[in-house]
C-alpha cells in the first residue's frame, strides 16, 4: 500500500530518504519518473541516496502506474516520489490515491512561490485545484516535523 505520495523535484535525497522513510515506516521507495529512466547518471546518484534497510525501485510513469495497479506493491509500505505535480496528478487519478504530499518544486520565471520550498506554475495551480475538488487531500509539508498546510489555503 502507498503510505505516502510525494512531489519533490530532487526526488530522493536526505529529507525524503531519511525523515520520511522513518516517519511513514516505509520498507520500499518507488521513484516514478520518465526522465530518470533515460538518465543513467541521475539514476546512479539516486541509488546512492537509498537508506539502508529499504528496497528502492525506479520506474517510468507507465510502469509505475501498472505496477501499483497490478497489486505487486500491495505487500510493501510504499513511499512513492514523483518530480512534478503533473506526474502526481496522474498517479492520483490512475491509481486512486487520495492523499498527496507536496515537498518541493523549483522556482522558475513562470512559477509563483506558495511555501518555503514549493513553486507552482499557473497550469500546476489548476491541477492542484482540480485534485482538491476531486477529494484528494493535498498538503504542503517539506519534512515530517513541519506542520502540514492544506494547499487550498495558498491557492
Amino acid at each position: 500500500m502507498i503510505k505516502l505520495l510525494r512531489v519533490d523535484h530532487r526526488l530522493l535525497h536526505g529529507q525524503v530518504a531519511f525523515s520520511w522513510k522513518n516517519a511513514v515506516e516505509a520498507d520500499c521507495i518507488l521513484i516514478a519518473c520518465d526522465a530518470v529512466m533515460k538518465d543513467d547518471l541521475r539514476k546512479t546518484s539516486i541509488k546512492l541516496a537509498k537508506p539502508s534497510g529499504v528496497k528502492l525501485v525506479i520506474k517510468n510513469m507507465d510502469d509505475a502506474v501498472n505496477a501499483i495497479n497490478s497489486g505487486v506493491t500491495d505487500k510493501y509500505k510504499l513511499l512513492t516520489v514523483v518530480e512534478s505535480i503533473k506526474d502526481a496528478e496522474r498517479l492520483c487519478k490512475e491509481c486512486n490515491i487520495n492523499k498527496l504530499n507536496l515537498g518541493g518544486t523549483k522556482a522558475t520565471a513562470e512559477t509563483r512561490n506558495i511555501s518555503k520550498a514549493m513553486n507552482i506554475t499557473p497550469a500546476e495551480e489548476t491541477i492542484l485545484k482540480g485534485l482538491c475538488e476531486s477529494g484528494v487531500d493535498v498538503t504542503i509539508q517539506m519534512v515530517p516535523e513541519d506542520s502540514p498546510v492544506n494547499v487550498e489555503k495558498v491557492l
Binding site: 531519511f18 525523515s19 522513518n22 547518471l41 539514476k43 546512479t44 539502508s52 525501485v57 510493501y76 516535523e145
Partner: protein
C-alpha cells in the same frame, strides 16, 4: 530524550547542527554544541558536563569531531559515567542517526555500534560510472 552534544575544534559542531537541522528540522533544535576556540581548554567544558552528568540521570550522548583530539581526549573521560556515551569521528550520517535514535529513548551501546557501522558504510568513493542492477518489486 537524551541530551545530544556535538563537540568540535572550531565551528564544525555548530555547522553540523545547522546541516542536520536542514534534514530533520526541529528534531535537532535541542542539540547542544561545543566549539573549542583558540586559547580555550576543553578540560573546562569537561568539568562543566561532568558536574551536570553527576547531578542528573539523563543520558548524555556526545559526538566529538576527531579521535584523540583534545576535545575527544578531554570529553572521553566522561564515558566512565553510566549515563554518558562518547563518540569520535562525527560525520553527517552519524550525527543524523544519533539525533533520530536518541529521540524519546536512551541510546544503547549495541545500537551505538550499529550506528558506527552504518556511518562507515556511508563513506564511499566514486570515480567513473558504476553499474548496479536495478531492483524491482
Amino acid at each position: 530524550m537524551s541530551r545530544v552534544i556535538f563537540a568540535s575544534h572550531g565551528g564544525l559542531s555548530k555547522g553540523m547542527k545547522d546541516s542536520v537541522s536542514m534534514i530533520v528540522g526541529d528534531l535537532a533544535k535541542d542539540v547542544e554544541t561545543y566549539s573549542l576556540l583558540p586559547g580555550q581548554n576543553p578540560e573546562d567544558f569537561y568539568q562543566e558536563v561532568l558536574k551536570e552528568a553527576k547531578e542528573s540521570e539523563e543520558q548524555i550522548v556526545i559526538l566529538c569531531d576527531i579521535k584523540g583530539g583534545s576535545v575527544h581526549t578531554a570529553l572521553s573521560k566522561l564515558a566512565v559515567l553510566d549515563n554518558v556515551m562518547v563518540f569520535s569521528g562525527m560525520n553527517m550520517g552519524l550525527a543524523l542517526d544519533v539525533v533520530m535514535k536518541s529521540l524519546g529513548q536512551n541510546l544503547e551501546l549495541a545500537d551505538a555500534n550499529d550506528l558506527i557501522e552504518a556511518a562507515k558504510e556511508g563513506m564511499t568513493v566514486m570515480s567513473g560510472m558504476t553499474s548496479e542492477d536495478d531492483e524491482d518489486f
